[in-house]
């Protein structure tokens, strides 16, 4: 039924905003609302294995503020953060409560414009304007529009990764994998990751990169803005599986007019060929190839291609946890609920489950399970060398298939 969930509701746009901002080094975030929301969200980020690199504060508000519409706490907190820490930008996020009572946050900030040095970027939806993809998209677009500054020139052999945020499962390992591949294959250097581990100053300087690589659809408007403002070209990629990884290298090489290292590519292709041959032989003996996938749109699309097209598994259900992105034509089930996941598992009794932890939990029958997305239930990640993306990610999936397929 609508609104009721046993595990996790679809995260709101406000949660997406906070997730996208929280891994930026030196970002200053003020949450305007009851303090418990901020405290809870900080702890919640740890539970999706995220690392907080921003400075996040709450104003807290009390009943007087709510009843009397008193915005003094917001005003004082902005002035204090501006004066004490002197950040170039302050991101102000209105809580759901502030959104519901209709406080004019922009009005408060407008009144402060002559007293504050920092540029203030506000998020007022309170979580009522859509799911987390809306919030992530908004932050990435705002960074491109308001934070990235013109550069003197493009730096050859550099690129930005756009759309890798701390809500991405195994984001740290995936970033390392992509950086390693593009370094080995093309000698490229990553300038900035929107929005994990980079500083505000690195984001400001991101326009000097020669290419932007968009890893999830929420980053496209960011890349389009950077193309419009700075003439930066971009490609879309989600390198899950061998072919998608090779496609990414090829697209990057083409865009930058480079030739991938032949020795490196031959070695990777040869290893991929052997792994695929071995796995297909193994899967031929499998009683069932039924597979169910769940997660974000880009992951579901990429996994369905790798598992279906390259490995020959039968993708019986592909469930996307959020609304259908603009232009997405695939016959996936969007806004998939817990009941949808339970139903897919009951209907197909899949031998292979690739998805978020809620999907994996739904299956009690023997099958191969691999968590590829959040929401997370209990899994703790400490390593950064086990990517799901790139050649190593594909190798690791095949290794699991060879060892654990039922």
């Amino acid at each position: 039924m609508s609104g009721l969930t046993k595990f996790f509701p679809t995260p709101s746009d406000k949660m997406g905003v906070l997730w996208a901002l929280s891994a930026i080094k030196g970002a200053y975030i003020i949450e305007y609302g009851p303090g418990g929301t901020t405290h809870y969200s900080m702890e919640g980020i740890f539970k999706i294995n995220g690392e907080i690199l921003s400075n996040t504060y709450t104003t807290h508000i009390d009943e007087d503020d709510v009843v009397m519409g008193d915005t003094e706490k917001l005003r004082k907190t902005i002035l204090e953060v501006d004066q004490v820490y002197r950040p170039p930008y302050i991101f102000v996020i209105a809580s759901s409560l502030i959104s519901v009572i209709g406080t004019d946050v922009d009005g408060v900030i407008h009144a402060l414009k002559d007293q504050v040095n920092a540029r203030i970027i506000t998020y007022q939806s309170g979580g009522f304007k859509g799911d987390y993809t809306v919030g992530v998209r908004r932050v990435l677009s705002d960074l491109a529009e308001h934070v990235v500054q013109p550069a003197d020139c493009k730096v050859e052999g550099t690129y930005n990764l756009i759309g890798c945020c701390l809500d991405d499962y195994r984001y740290a390992a995936n970033i390392r994998a992509i950086q390693s591949i593009l370094s080995d294959a093309l000698g490229l250097r990553c300038q900035c990751v929107f929005t994990v581990g980079c500083s505000i100053h690195e984001i400001e300087a991101a326009s000097s990169a020669s290419l932007n690589i968009v890893l999830r659809h929420e980053g496209r408007s960011c890349a389009e803005t950077l193309a419009r403002r700075f003439g930066s070209p971009y490609i879309n990629a989600h390198p899950i599986g061998y072919q998608a990884t090779i496609d990414m290298i090829t697209a990057v090489a083409k865009s930058l007019n480079l030739v991938p290292d032949v020795q490196y590519m031959d070695a990777q292709r040869e290893h991929a060929r052997r792994c695929l041959m071995q796995s297909k032989g193994h899967l031929r003996r499998a009683a069932s190839k039924s597979t169910v996938i769940s997660g974000g749109y880009d992951a579901v699309l990429a996994y369905s291609r790798f598992l279906g097209d390259e490995l020959g598994l039968s993708i019986d259900a592909a469930l996307v946890n959020h609304v259908r992105p603009e232009g997405a034509q695939e016959p996936f089930l969007f806004k998939a609920t817990e009941a949808d996941k339970q139903l897919a598992v009951s209907k197909y009794s899949p031998a292979f489950l690739f998805g978020d932890a809620v999907l994996l939990h739904a299956a009690v029958h023997p099958c191969l399970k691999r968590q590829i997305q959040n929401p997370n239930l209990q899994r703790v990640i400490t390593t950064t060398h086990k990517p799901h993306m790139g050649f190593d990610g594909a190798n690791d999936i095949i290794e699991q298939l060879l060892n654990d397929a039922v």
Partner: protein, 441 residues
């Protein structure tokens, strides 16, 4: 307006007579206090046979579920009803009613808790009426607990109100004279405590510890106990309610450190049980006095910031003063029962420290180089403390203890830290950071 983080922004202890006198060092708070929703989850997530439905925004419900999974298991008793803008404008009661019916159908619980949050409280829907109506319809207790954070400044009221709500599932029982309930104990196992061992020698056993991992049927039968022992003030409203409804007497046996207060707790217990415990208590009491005497020369003049512990801020600080230590800053959440007594006792010993609102570490860190305490009592990033030569003491290991042994173990903890025996990680970090002398040997 110029902002400067300074202790001068705070009130001194002598100026504290109401919660509003406990000021924050800054307007920008980090990380901020937990909210009552967290308190409700803490109190209810381990009760089998009870299902809880959180009504609120995606993030309130999402993070509560994450906490419940972390605290218990994936298949815990917490559910979410996520409000959208339509619920805000047109009301959510009908949908929440359907959600409760669905939970009832799927899980067949003996009781259901409706936990409201900030947004449904601000829209003003009457969830008490909804709970009453669902109680009639489903023939099980459906209880409403209100956890809006804009009417308080911590999670404490969430614990209090959830425990109080659970009184409504209780049923009159024949009294079992040798059964007691422990109310409010939420850290570790009470069965390992001095108090429990003592009760055991007189043939008493515990029927229920609340909050804890228990079944709702244990709560229903709680009035069978001849006595409630309140080991944390959060359970006082529940104890009062049980006395009103079932005549169950209670004694307060909080996690006090000062032996005078522990004496009083045991004295109250002796009066209710109509027995003398003196013979069994004497060794533990003497051990504490011996320990205090031995510790005073070592701790005299050592300064501290009180951050947090499972005990009461002012009572702990007062005890540390009795050991000769000097409070510089006491971080406190609120003013609770008898805090005025502890405050006066600290003042009477010649100390008048600053008092800061809890859960706001960031500005305090900027002051460490100036105030340079010997100890930080509570949770804080050890890296930030060690940089300034501050030794960290957490009292977590003593959290399950109640009675003289609690105070004794606290002193042992302090002396071990002072002696470099405890916290080897901190010692290692100090050495690695090139400041081996900061962890005193």
């Amino acid at each position: 307006m110029q902002f400067e983080y300074s202790l001068d922004n705070l009130n001194r202890l002598s100026q504290i007579s109401a919660p509003k006198h406990i000021k924050s060092l800054s307007n920008a708070l980090y990380p901020g206090t937990h909210c009552p929703l967290f308190g409700a989850a803490l109190a209810a997530c381990e009760v089998e046979g009870l299902e809880a439905l959180v009504i609120g925004t995606d993030e309130c419900t999402y993070y509560t579920q994450a906490f419940a999974i972390d605290r218990t298991t994936v298949d815990n008793n917490f559910w979410s009803y996520t409000m959208d803008h339509s619920d805000v404008v047109f009301g959510s009661a009908a949908h929440v009613g359907d959600a409760v019916r669905e939970i009832h159908r799927v899980r067949g619980p003996r009781a259901i808790l409706l936990v409201t949050t900030c947004v449904p409280e601000i829209t003003g829907e009457n969830f008490d009426a909804l709970a009453a109506s669902l109680t009639d319809e489903l023939a099980i207790p459906v209880l409403a607990v209100h956890t809006e954070h804009f009417r308080c400044n911590s999670h404490i009221s969430g614990i209090e109100n959830t425990l109080l709500a659970l009184a409504e599932v209780m049923q009159p029982q024949p009294i079992e004279p040798k059964k007691v309930n422990i109310l409010g104990h939420r850290f570790g196992s009470i069965t390992e405590s001095e108090l429990f061992r003592l009760l055991g020698t007189r043939g008493y056993s515990i029927h229920l510890t609340l909050p804890s991992k228990c079944h709702i049927q244990d709560i229903e039968a709680a009035p069978m106990a001849a006595l409630n022992i309140v080991s944390d003030f959060t359970a006082l409203p529940l104890a009062e309610r049980m006395r009103e409804r079932f005549g169950t007497p209670y004694v307060v046996f909080d996690k006090f450190l000062n032996p005078r207060r522990i004496d009083q707790c045991y004295s109250d217990l002796e009066a209710v049980l109509d027995t003398s415990l003196e013979r069994e208590l004497a060794p533990a009491r003497q051990a504490l006095f011996d320990k205090m005497e031995a510790a005073r020369p070592l701790l005299r003049g050592k300064s501290f910031i009180y951050g947090n512990s499972v005990m009461a801020a002012f009572e702990v600080s007062e005890f540390l003063c009795e050991l000769g230590m000097t409070p510089i800053v006491i971080q406190a959440r609120d003013l609770y029962k008898n805090d005025d007594v502890y405050i006066q006792e600290i003042l009477d010993q010649g100390h008048d420290p600053h008092v800061a609102s809890i859960a706001n570490i960031a500005p305090l860190r900027k002051l460490y180089p100036m105030i340079k305490p010997n100890f930080y009592i509570g949770h804080e990033n050890p890296h930030d403390l060690i940089k300034h030569g501050i030794q960290q003491v957490t009292f977590d290991a003593a959290s399950s203890r109640v009675g003289y042994e609690l105070s004794t173990s606290i002193i042992d903890n302090l002396l071990d830290i002072l002696d470099g025996k405890k916290n080897p990680m901190l010692a290692m970090m100090g050495a690695a950071a090139g400041h081996p002398g900061e962890v005193k040997k």
